[in-house]
Amino acid sequence: MKRLLKNIFSVLFLLIFCQIHAQEPSFYIRTLRSISMTQDTVQMQGIRFKDVDVVYNKIIDFTNQNITIKQAGVYEVNGFVNINPGVYGGVKDSLQIEVYWIKNSGKPSEQILCSVKQNYTCGNMDVARTFLFRPQLFRFEAGDDISIWAKVLPTSTISINNNKNYHQIHKPTGMQQIAGLRISREN
């Protein structure tokens, strides 16, 4: 009887082990919380996530809002950010914003993984647009961190909505998604 119980326990342990092992080595974080930007055409502005934004995480060290690779390897990265400048311009006005996904920002090994520029023109400066980072493969080392930044480009002829209570990083009308990032380790 004792032996039978021992065997049953072993099988159950194996099944649980295999179930855990079956989880995909991925990370997904998204915010449903809008974020404010400032009118600054010199500095990039960080787009940060919080602990509560983590949807799924089997591979990333997410401490102090930093997204850090735990294990060297090849990873697929993709993401999106929705930005609504929240202004109205004339027919001659335009507003350019660029979003950057950066590895090791501010360090000697800094690398822009992806940058996407959007041009807002008359009639659509008060509507959110998606900045899309299409899936790409990258080689990362343990300790590499990934961050997202946005910048109002100096070519803009009009400022973004400068009210500090206005949140430019915002959901598009009719949809709740604001910003998201997926990192998946290749097998």
Binding site: Q19, A22, Q118, G123, G174
Partner: protein, 194 residues
């Protein structure tokens, strides 16, 4: 010796079973028309599907009477998709024009986008087909929720738009719409979409 062999077999079988993620893949050339009404940004229009266009399915329980795709097991899923889409509208210069493309979960009659992207239209991209991608997104889905590909106006200043999901006349064999759903973990969790 026999016991060791049986144990090895058990490990092999359970590991093999666990590594196979339940998966659904759909690819279609089906042409479909959509009418978007300005001011109806919350009105969600659904993409029709044909069971003959299901390329692979080890995820959903389907039979001849199935009309909705219902999540069979709670867990984390990875979803992605592609729309070949032509807005077919008048001039959208100096106006608001955008369409939200993505996937909706329907739970207790409430529709929520779980993955999506917004395409903003201007005079530079309003004419002709665009390739619209819903890149891989990880979501937690509860058993019993309905999953459906969808689109909505977002914000549209122009009159009714007759949009088209399909292929160019010169490229009738293109893929007009495709999507995939893969269960990546059975662990219990929860996720808010609103």
């Amino acid at each position: 010796m026999r016991k060791i062999f049986l144990l090895y077999l058990l490990i092999f079988l359970t590991n093999g079973w666990a590594q196979e993620y339940a998966f659904f893949h759909y690819e279609s050339k089906l042409e479909q028309y959509f009418k978007f009404h300005p001011g109806a940004s919350k009105k969600i229009l659904y993409v029709n599907m044909d069971r003959n266009d299901i390329v692979f399915n080890s995820l959903f329980d389907l039979d001849e009477k199935t009309t909705q795709l219902i999540i069979p097991i709670s867990g984390f899923y990875e979803i992605s998709g592609y729309f070949h889409f032509d807005l077919r509208t008048g001039n959208v210069k100096n106006s608001r024009a955008g369409i939200n493309f993505g996937f909706v979960q329907i739970q207790n009659g409430i529709e929520d986008y779980i993955a999506g992207t917004r395409i903003s239209y201007t005079e530079t991209n309003q004419d002709g087909f665009l390739d619209i991608y819903i890149d891989p997104t990880i979501v937690y889905l509860e058993k019993g929720v309905i999953i459906a590909p969808a689109m909505s106006t977002g914000l549209l200043d122009k009159p009714i738009v007759n949009a088209y999901l399909g292929c160019e006349r010169t490229n009738k064999d293109c893929i007009a719409f495709q999507w995939s759903l893969k269960r990546i973990s059975n662990e219990a969790s929860s996720q808010k979409y609103f």
